[in-house]
Amino acid sequence: VQGIMLTKNGISPTVSTTWLWISLVGFILLYGTLGTVDLILMLRYSRKELEPWPAGADAHTPVPAVQY
């Protein structure tokens, strides 16, 4: 709330600046790594050929869409 609830009133008194930096840098590194891995995967998938259609399957055959 403007003028009533100030940012300085919301500061956590028990969390030190050191821990804030450590956690902030840690999350930046984590997300940076995951983002890089994601980019590599996307590039790899964009260059990949389609997989062969399973034997005996046609347009009416439900094909398992395995997610994981």
Partner: protein
């Protein structure tokens, strides 16, 4: 109408719901590498929870959001005091979630084994850290008159809190093993049952120890209350049912055990929400941490409208993905001899794709 006790009950139900649903996800995550002897087996184990785990995890977010909105004083002190533990928890949940998604995206042994290890580690750390946090709420933390946590990270690792975390890990393991018995077939089902048999005695012993320790810590009466008694009886029943190989009832018993363990923490905590080890005069209670009446009233309307919807779609999800998952669904399919690098057939609205288990 005083909505403060109502909202404490809502928060307790949300945490309980989270552990019931995410408990077997954690268990499957910890066990998938043992139950699945090859890559197809591990994929089958992961796919038993594949369509469900992220929906289950939402209960944790809603529980945290509910605490923030209904009891901002509790949220502020808890999230500041447990900062480092929560950062570790968040990292475990992020790594675990990404492991689900990335594991199958590259067909290399080293890649998949790395994500398997991360999935197992994340699934172990999450219930352990949440358990430590919940144990700390009840056992007490150094909190001053301004409702500020005055301890360090190491003050969180008191024996009772660590034992709470270990107990929850063991209950999640058994819950996951009984869930895998219900959702898999053939050899995998047998291995899940054998694992449940091995884990069950340790889980029952840990639950009994946890309940007695909690009762001694938080209660002034000699006899256990109803919820504590229920937790002990459910843990013993789960042990017996696992050895009798009553898979459905065993899963129901582990569900009740997990629910009763979490509920008993909240029952023994009330009317406090965080106990101060500095002085009981500084305890955080439902009354000195609650939001205003208008906020609680508005939130109650939202909960009454949306909670049935959430429960309905989640029930529907479980109904859709109710069938057992077989390892054979994950064996590589032989390509047709004459098939060219394939032209995908035209999609047919009458034949929607299916996932294993659906």
């Amino acid at each position: 109408m005083n909505l403060i006790p109502f909202w404490f009950i809502v928060i307790a139900i949300l945490w309980t719901g989270f552990f019931i649903l995410e408990g077997f996800d954690f268990g499957v995550g910890m066990l998938h590498d043992i139950v699945g002897t090859d890559d197809a087996g591990r994929r089958a184990a992961i796919n038993t929870i594949g369509p469900l785990w992220d929906g289950n995890e939402v209960w944790l977010i809603v529980a945290g959001a509910g605490m923030f909105a209904a009891f901002p004083g509790w949220y502020a002190t808890m999230f500041s005091g447990l900062y480092l533990a929560l950062v570790l928890l968040l990292t475990a949940l992020i790594v675990r979630g990404v492991a689900f998604e990335y594991r199958g995206k590259h067909d290399a042994v080293r890649w998949r084994r790395t994500w398997d290890v991360l999935l197992t580690t994340g699934s172990l750390l999450a219930p352990l850290l949440i358990g430590v946090g919940l144990g700390d709420l009840l056992h007490g933390l150094p909190i001053n008159s301004s409702q500020d946590y005055t301890g360090s990270f190491w003050d969180l690792l008191q024996p009772y809190a660590v034992f709470t975390g270990i107990t929850l890990v063991l209950v999640c393991l058994l819950h996951g093993a009984t869930f895998l018995c219900l959702r898999t077939t053939d050899d995998m089902r047998e291995r899940s049952w054998l694992l449940a048999r091995r884990v069950a005695p340790f889980t029952a012993a840990a639950v009994i120890g946890f309940i007695i320790w909690m009762h001694v810590t938080a209660s002034t009466t000699f006899f256990l209350n109803v919820i504590e008694l229920l937790a002990v009886l459910a843990a013993i029943s789960a042990l017996w049912l696992v050895y009798e190989r009553r898979e459905g009832f065993a899963f129901a018993a582990t569900t009740v055990t997990l629910a009763a363990c979490i509920l008993s923490i909240f029952v023994d905590l009330y009317p406090n929400v965080m106990v101060s080890s500095t002085s009981h005069a500084y305890n955080l209670t439902v009354h000195n941490t609650a939001s205003g009446a208008y906020s609680l009233k508005a939130m109650t309307v939202v909960v009454i409208v949306f909670l049935p919807l959430v429960l309905a779609y989640q029930t529907w999800t479980y109904y859709v993905f109710r069938k057992r998952v077989s390892v054979s669904d994950f064996r590589p399919a032989a390509p047709s001899p004459g098939a060219a690098p394939a032209q995908e057939p035209a999609p047919d609205a009458a034949a929607p794709p299916v996932r294993p288990g659906s």
